[in-house]
């Protein structure tokens, strides 16, 4: 169909009206149509058809669509400066899995494919890389992120997302099939659409408007989102009788409550770990589940360079074994319910003010009894804190009682840390003054019929809510329940309207970071599911004239900026990802340190504040430590924490997260009751091979059965269980009841007032076996032989020393190779390479947080394989994080029980292809499918690979991954039919694929390529610029970009000024298995633990192991040491079983 064009001149038009007015158009209307047009299907008149055509012409020409057009669609005429196929980066900010993300999104032709941190953001910029005096810091400006953020793009393209509006008049269970994108596509259209909803909403609001919002309840998740909060306030103003119900599944305001009890209100707390020399983390997983984990890791790591002389010290007192505990210099295991008492003791010691002096004849830490150890720990920490006034920080986990936060704040105030390492910031509260009720109260009132309408803006409360609240019954008692839903999930089936909600990458919104910096969340793509954002929905509820969310958000910025607001400021905020100088002001409030003036802690205002019951179960001035030899089962506690992978279950349908090995257990696709060796023994349960026995946990009437998992080093008598599993309507990845389950739900055991730390529970063992899928120790290593060998090898594979030993001997990491002569059998050829790409990983900075693992998965199109395949050892992660347990060998030997090590510690080591110069894989490939590039990268030619798998056998690091099935499509005929998860890799999900990286098919070997696509891009860019050399920092691998602690450095080893070259020449640098003469290009910087002398174990005080290596070479196994080995083999074991 051609547009009407006059012979004389073209006329452009802006609207149908304009077009209709022209004589040409009228002429065109009256003209006879061509033959094809007159054959238009019956029932549509020519006139009607013309109207349609006119309308579509008008839409095609009209601007002012929902978003700026050029951001989303392909172009006929592209905007200048944009090259098809070249990615663009957009700054954005959003809240994801309880954490604020300051992101930089890589978008390819309108399709977001990767989320990384925004290095320009003040949160990162203030703690940039340090230690390199070459002025190239900005090249290395990198931000970092966490695993969940890296996986956010996968959720965007999740085919199980709610794909259409669902209206349920009959909410009686069973709820029937889940409504997904895939299904709505198959049905072509849903039963109801947005127009239907708009009509229904209008009539609903008219009724509500008439009575001031009587009977309206709004359940929402509190978040630092100014526009959402502003709109909520508007709604509350419009409906004064409406009820607000804030609810968060992982309650994070205990610190604020603790502060309020000290007379400080309306503030938020912001830590500056980079300013602290001594950090004491009390049950705080600083680098894991704490909301500021990414920035914590960054700030912590910049003081971990022993060469700069600025080694900080991290004490970790915790019940679970967290990533923070594995990264800590010193860790002490204590039950979560004992933390308040511990803090009281610590405060008393600090109040006393006298540092403890060590006497000369004092026993070392290994020789102490459990009670003496506790005393020693308290003494040393108090002494260290007193010595570092103003440079220290005591921080408490969000799951801890407000009382714990109260004491910690007081200690910080006494240590003069406030305003130095810990800032109290004035946070404006948009919702201040609005009356709200708790969810338990809401449930009660709703059941009594006090509400006729509820709007839910919280993710899946029916699943996450504590077991003692009957939310389904409450919702069923409400006539109209409107739920802004990500999925057709557990809550959706109790709602009359389930509205598809946008993913943060599809919506306009805004956030405040921890320091208060304001940032806009801008959409990267049109909502793929036809969803609306919560801001759009709230503005309907608020009855706004203006429904354009971009305008609404810019309105918030306008209010914030006041008179200085300009379009340019808005554009800058969008471009930079933050509004300059929008940090919160430092509060003038002072903390009242006088204990006698304290008000009692206020009663809970919001759900799930994690008070451990109103009655403390233990005398709070005496710390009850658990004796591993005599576990007191009456003092069992269950600590329920959000999962390191699926958070509170909202990421359950994200395959990358489900298959992401949990940092300590390496467990995938499951949660388990984590417990120490002694606790498992006391309960009479065990774990062997791939199966674990189940335990039954009872709390009143509620009961959950789940498998155990033994974690050496967890506090005795503490059982840790992750939230977010056992979903009944998560989707084809996260579980659908009646079809397949992923993990076990622990929600029923939580109590409204006992959300995290559950006391008074009853645990009993069963002999029922359960199969677990882990990516390391695919079966628990139960034979003495294997368990004896692991610590022996771990010592050489992950080299570790104390700061003291490093200061004594900088070469300590190389000691084990002293005297080892590596000879080649032949004269090795001179290799001339344009570049010699290499990598350096600083184990002193790595916390094992998994961000790099998922970043690699996102960048390199690494598929997921499902639980069954993981249990067969076929996970595909190119980059994995190896985790080894070590222990206090002398104390373990003294106890004589090698399967239950004393004071176990964890070392982590990211492991990917090391790109050996003399790569063993290349020698044995019969078809030359794995070869060296001219840059020294060990490359895979997928097309050439026939899949003999010989290379993988000959790889000493076992980093090669084989496609046993077509993991990117479907497994195969008859196989995998029982595993519905394969569909997660199909269709819509394939939009997440990075077009720069080949999608590998079945029968092909794959592995880390050093992100060769990025290397090649840098080379092309350099050539296009006229052959300029590639500067250090021009190529950054995906894992490097994701690493918040900047532990991974990549670059050209031929460039003698590069960081990676400097790192490789660091005295701490060593190559794993270098004795094989394979010359790996990835080297590691040895780990240092900055342990105070009085807490050093015998081995740390006197590292004899390394000395024996230095005298006799690493490969010694001669007579004189044979005895040693036998003795030590059993002493420090990695006990999993």
């Amino acid at each position: 169909m051609k547009l009407p064009v006059t012979a004389s001149e073209k006329q452009f038009f802006r609207s149908v009206d304009q077009l209709e007015g022209t004589p040409e158009f009228n002429e065109f209307l009256e003209r006879e149509f061509p033959v094809a047009a007159s054959e238009f299907p019956e029932g549509v008149s020519r006139r009607r058809w013309m109207q349609l055509m006119g309308a579509s012409v008008a839409f095609a020409g009209a601007s002012g669509c929902r978003y700026y057009r050029e951001e989303f669609a392909g172009f006929v005429v592209p905007p200048s400066g944009r090259v098809a196929g070249l990615p663009q980066s957009f700054a954005t900010n959003f809240v994801w899995a309880g954490k604020v993300v300051n992101g930089l999104v890589k978008s390819l032709d309108g399709r977001p494919i990767k989320v990384d941190g925004n290095a320009m953001h003040p949160m990162f910029a203030t703690s940039a890389n340090s230690g390199y005096a070459d002025g190239k810091d900005e090249k290395f400006a990198q931000a970092g992120s966490d695993a969940a953020t890296q996986a956010a793009v996968l959720s965007l393209y999740d085919p199980d997302r709610l794909g259409w509006l669902v209206q349920r008049d009959d909410r009686s269970l069973p709820a029937g099939k889940m409504v997904t994108v895939a299904e709505s596509v198959a049905q072509k259209k849903g039963p109801v659409n947005w127009t239907d909803f708009d009509i229904a909403a209008r009539s609903q609001l008219e009724t509500l408007g008439g009575n001031g919002g009587e009977g309206l309840a709004i359940v929402y998740e509190p978040a630092p989102t100014p526009t959402f909060n502003r709109l909520l306030a508007e709604v509350a103003a419009k409906f004064p009788k409406a009820t607000l119900v804030p609810y968060e599944s992982v309650y994070g305001r205990n610190a604020v409550k603790g502060l309020e009890s000290l007379g400080v209100s309306n503030v938020t707390v912001n830590h500056r770990l980079d300013k602290a020399t001594v950090i004491v983390a009390i049950d705080a997983d600083l680098f894991g589940s704490e909301s500021a984990s990414v920035i914590n890791a960054r700030q912590f790591s910049i003081n971990r360079d022993p060469n700069g002389g600025n080694m900080n010290r991290l004490y970790c007192i915790e019940s679970q074994f967290s990533t923070t505990g594995s990264a800590a210099d010193f860790r002490y295991a204590l039950q979560s319910s004992q933390m308040v008492a511990f803090l009281k003791r610590l405060e008393a010691a600090i109040d006393a003010g006298t540092p403890f002096e060590a006497s000369a004849e004092e026993l070392n830490y290994s020789k102490l009894s459990p009670s003496e150890r506790l005393e020693r720990v308290l003494q040393v920490i108090a002494t260290d804190l007193l010595a570092n006034k103003g440079k220290s920080l005591v921080t408490v986990g969000y799951q801890q009682d407000p009382a714990a936060h109260q004491i910690a704040m007081r200690i910080n105030a006494k240590l003069e840390n406030v305003g130095k390492t810990l800032f109290l910031l004035d946070a404006p509260n948009e919702l201040a003054g609005l009356k709200s009720i708790k969810l338990d109260e809401f449930a009660r009132q709703a059941a009594n019929g006090q509400f006729n309408t509820a709007w839910i803006f919280a993710p899946n409360p029916v699943y996450t809510v504590a077991g003692d609240i009957d939310l389904p019954a409450a919702l069923l008692a409400i006539k109209t329940v409107v739920y802004a839903a990500d999925y057709d999930d557990e809550t959706a089936v109790y709602s009359t309207w389930s509205l598809p909600l946008t993913h943060p990458l599809e919506a306009w919104s805004d956030v405040r970071s921890a320091d208060g910096t304001y940032g806009v969340c801008q959409p990267m793509i049109e909502p793929v599911t036809g969803a609306r954002s919560s801001i759009e929905l709230l503005s309907i509820l608020a009855g706004f004239e203006e429904l354009d969310p971009a305008k609404i958000v810019s309105g918030t910025l306008q209010k914030l900026a006041g008179g200085s607001f300009t379009e340019r400021l808005w554009q800058e905020a969008l471009h930079d990802g933050f509004l300059k100088d929008s940090q919160y002001q430092v509060s003038s409030a002072t903390i009242n340190t006088a204990a006698e003036d304290l008000k009692p802690l206020p009663a809970s205002a919001i759900a799930a504040e994690g008070e451990n019951g109103s009655e403390p179960t233990v005398a709070k001035n005496e710390v009850l430590f658990s004796d591993p030899d005599n576990v007191d089962l009456s003092r069992l506690e269950v600590v329920v924490l959000p999962s390191d992978t699926v958070y509170d279950g909202r990421l359950a349908n994200n395959g990358w997260m489900q298959e992401c090995p949990q940092p300590i257990t390496k467990l995938t696709w499951d949660n388990a009751a984590l417990m120490s060796v002694s606790t498992a023994r006391a309960l009479g349960v065990g774990q062997s091979r791939a199966t674990a026995e189940m335990v039954v946990i009872r709390q009143g009437d509620a009961m959950t059965k789940l498998p155990i998992f033994i974690v050496p080093g967890q506090a005795e008598g503490t059982i840790v269980v992750a939230l977010g599993y056992g979903r009944s309507r998560a989707g084809s990845v996260g579980g659908v009841s009646g079809q397949f389950d992923v993990g076990h739900s622990i929600q029923g055991l939580r109590r409204w007032n006992q959300a995290f730390i559950l006391n008074g529970i009853e645990v009993s063992g069963t002999t029922e076996p359960y199969k677990l899928a882990t990516t390391q120790d695919h079966f628990a290593i139960e034979d003495q032989l294997g368990m004896g060998e692991i610590p022996r090898r771990a010592q050489v594979i992950v080299r570790e020393g104390t700061l003291a030993s490093y200061e004594k001997d900088h070469q300590f990491a190389k000691v084990s190779h002293h005297g080892l002569k590596i000879d080649s059998l032949w004269k090795e050829p001179e290799v001339r390479e344009n570049h010699a790409w290499g990598m350096s990983i600083d184990l002193n900075k790595c916390s094992g947080c998994n961000a790099c693992v998922i970043a690699c998965q996102a960048e390199n199109n690494v598929p997921i394989v499902g639980k069954e395949q993981v249990s067969r050892g076929r996970e595909m992660h190119w980059l994995r994080i190896d985790r080894y347990f070590t222990a206090d060998r002398e104390a373990t030997a003294a106890k004589g029980d090698s399967t239950n090590p004393v004071d176990p510690r964890i070392v982590t080591q990211p492991m990917a292809c090391a790109h050996c110069e003399t790569a063993p894989c290349e020698q044995v490939c019969p078809v030359a499918a794995t070869v060296h590039t001219e840059d020294g990268i060990n490359a895979m030619a997928y097309n050439r690979c026939v899949g003999t798998r010989y290379c993988a056998n000959n790889c000493p690091y076992k980093v090669r991954r084989f496609n046993y099935f077509n993991y990117n499509q479907k497994y195969g005929y008859f196989y995998g039919w029982q595993d519905k998860r394969e569909t997660a890799n199909t269709k819509l999900q394939s939009l997440v694929l990075n077009p720069d990286v080949t999608v590998r098919g079945r029968g092909v070997m794959e592995k880390c390529t050093y992100c060769v696509q990025r290397v090649q891009n840098a080379k092309i860019m350099a050539r296009n610029k006229g052959g300029v050399p590639i500067a250090d920092g021009d190529v950054r691998t995906a894992c490097q970009e994701a690493c918040a602690s900047q532990a991974i450095v990549f670059g050209d080893l031929n460039d003698k000024t590069s960081r990676v070259y400097a790192n490789h020449n660091d005295p701490r640098s060593y190559a794993v298995l270098e004795e094989l003469n394979i010359k790996p290009r990835t080297q590691y910087l040895a780990r240092l633990r900055n342990v105070p002398v009085r807490l050093m174990t015998s081995e740390q005080l006197n590292p004899t192991w390394n000395h024996s290596h230095s005298e006799h070479g690493e490969e010694h196994h001669g007579d004189e040491h044979g005895h040693d080995h036998e003795e030590h083999a059993g002493e420090h074991e990695e006990a999993h079983s």
């Binding site: 091979r689 390391q776 120790d777 695919h778 079966f779 034979d783 032989l785 294997g786 060998e789 022996r792 090898r793 594979i797 395949q869 050892g873 076929r874 190896d882 985790r883 080894y884 492991m911 063993p920 020698q923 044995v924 490939c925 019969p926 078809v927 030359a928 050439r944 690979c945 026939v946 899949g947 003999t948 798998r949 010989y950 993988a952 056998n953 000959n954 000493p956 690091y957 076992k958 090669r960 991954r961 084989f962 046993y964 099935f965 077509n966 497994y971 195969g972 005929y973 008859f974 196989y975 079945r1002 029968g1003 092909v1004 070997m1005 298995l1073 094989l1076 490969e1115 196994h1117 001669g1118 990695e1134």
Partner: protein, 479 residues
């Protein structure tokens, strides 16, 4: 005539009795040239015994299952097996090495024993060679279907590729394998076929149907038995024997390189070539005994394949079994003496780690069971030697399992250690390969001379000559 031969009770004479100064007869039962021909030809000419039909039916079904599973494997992916990380090679490669090893006896018997003028080979070489060919066929299938993209397995062959302009990677032992096994298979086939020609001509001449005559006629290549034919035949046979002899040693040497050339602790050892060859001969003879004990019974060939033949083979099993045992001990010594921690651990782990059961099955079957052949009673009683030979087969399969799987399951980094468990498909396909093997062997018995008649006739001549020369008065004298 035939009745004379078959009515003879072999227990009347025991040719395993050693009498100083006297050569024990290799063929018993007062045989003549004609009776030998009758004895051997009746196997193919008479209706097959019912047991043949039972075995063949079962084997054929199993073979069909095997090929169906191969089809399924190629459609689906090698993931149907239990292969995993770190045990990337498991049963398929174990089966490959197992079958290649079995394929060793045939050529050893026909080539090396021929060159050493060991006349007792003549009664068993034909069946052993046939077994070799069939074992190599089974062996060849496994690496072919084991690769991830079986339809591209031909890329391992050095052919002038027009779109790649590249050869295979000649440093890879897998490529050497292709050459070694390919050469061995082709030379063995030619050698076997050459030996068959005079006997095929006999079959042709005795054929009662036109069709049989035609087929045997074509394959006997116009053999008339003239002196000139015999002269050339003998020369060619000797030359082929000389050519095949190094292959006996080279095939399994090269197969062992698959392991020895890698750097995996437990694989990377210089002892592998001789150790593998000894093991291969050991397993090959084990399989020959397993097959021939029932064959001589079913086809009433006790006078041709005598107890002495079986005893000789058992002696070789005893010798090679002891060699294998020595190799196991040497491996442990080297693991300790080398002072290499990884190596030491690999071997201790083999014997006492999670796969201890496999290791001790291997040791019991391969080291202990052949030692029973020190007892004459055991090495001359068919049913007992048959049982022991099956243990040898089991043990040798486990040897390959132990080498392949235990070494891979725990290599350098403990983080990557794993425990391999096979799937149903691993088992079914190994079983299926036996189906193919047995199908081929049963067809061989049905259609081809299972004993080299022409060569056995030569033995009778020698035997008679020897008897005359020494004035021996045995019952075979004077036919």
């Amino acid at each position: 005539m035939a009745s004379i031969a078959t009515s003879f009770n072999p227990r009347e004479i025991d040719n395993t009795v050693e009498m100083p100064g006297t050569r024990a007869p290799l063929i018993t039962g007062n045989q003549t040239y004609t009776s030998i021909t009758e004895l051997v030809c009746q196997v193919a000419e008479r209706p097959q015994p019912p047991i043949w039909y039972v075995l063949f039916g079962f084997s054929l079904l199993t073979a069909i299952m095997f090929f169906s599973l191969i089809g399924y494997l190629i459609l689906t992916g090698v993931g149907i097996w239990g292969n995993m990380s770190p045990v990337f090679w498991a049963w398929p490669i174990v089966n490959f090495v197992f079958w290649v090893g079995i394929g060793h006896a045939g050529t050893l018997i026909s080539a090396i024993l021929f060159l050493f003028r060991q006349n007792w080979r003549t009664s068993i070489n034909r069946a052993a060679e046939a077994m070799t060919i069939f074992a190599v066929i089974c062996a060849g299938i496994f690496p072919g279907i084991h690769v991830g993209r079986a339809w591209l397995a031909f890329w391992l062959t050095p052919y002038p590729s027009l779109n790649l302009w590249m050869w295979p990677q000649f440093r890879s032992p897998l490529l050497w394998d292709v050459f070694a096994v390919g050469t061995y298979a082709s030379v063995s086939l030619v050698f076997w076929y050459m030996g068959l020609i005079p006997d095929l001509a006999t079959y042709r001449d005795r054929s009662t149907t036109k069709f049989r005559r035609m087929i045997y006629g074509v394959f006997s290549l116009g053999w008339t038995g003239s002196s000139r034919h015999w002269m050339r035949y003998e020369k060619a046979y000797t030359l082929l024997a000389a050519l095949a002899t190094p292959l006996v040693l080279s095939v399994h040497t090269v197969v062992s390189f698959d392991f020895a050339v890698s750097q995996l602790p437990g694989w990377h050892t210089t002892i592998f070539p001789p150790y593998f060859v000894a093991g291969a001969i050991f397993s090959g003879f084990g399989m020959v005994v397993t097959l021939l004990v029932p064959v001589r019974k079913i086809y009433k060939l006790e006078n041709v394949i005598t107890l002495r033949h079986l005893e000789n083979m058992n002696k070789i099993i005893l010798a090679t079994g002891s060699l294998v045992g020595l190799a196991y001990a040497t491996e442990f010594f080297m693991a300790w003496y080398s002072g290499n921690d990884y190596e030491t651990f690999a071997f201790i782990n083999r014997a006492f780690g999670p796969y201890w059961w496999a290791y001790w099955i291997m040791v019991s079957c391969n080291v202990i069971s052949p030692q029973l052949f020190w007892f004459k009673k055991l090495r001359t009683t068919p049913i007992l030697m048959w049982i022991i030979s099956i243990f040898v087969n089991i043990g040798m399969w486990f040897e390959r399992f132990v080498i392949t799987v235990t070494s891979l399951s725990r290599d350098f980094l403990p983080s990557s250690w794993g425990y391999f468990s096979p799937t149903l498909f691993d088992g079914l396909m190994f079983f299926g390969s036996f189906g193919l093997f047995m199908t081929l062997f049963l067809l061989f018995c049905r259609f081809l001379p299972v004993v080299a008649m022409s060569e056995v006739r030569g033995i009778i001549a020698i035997q008679k000559h020897a008897a005359h020369g020494h004035g021996e008065k045995d019952s075979s004298h004077g036919h």
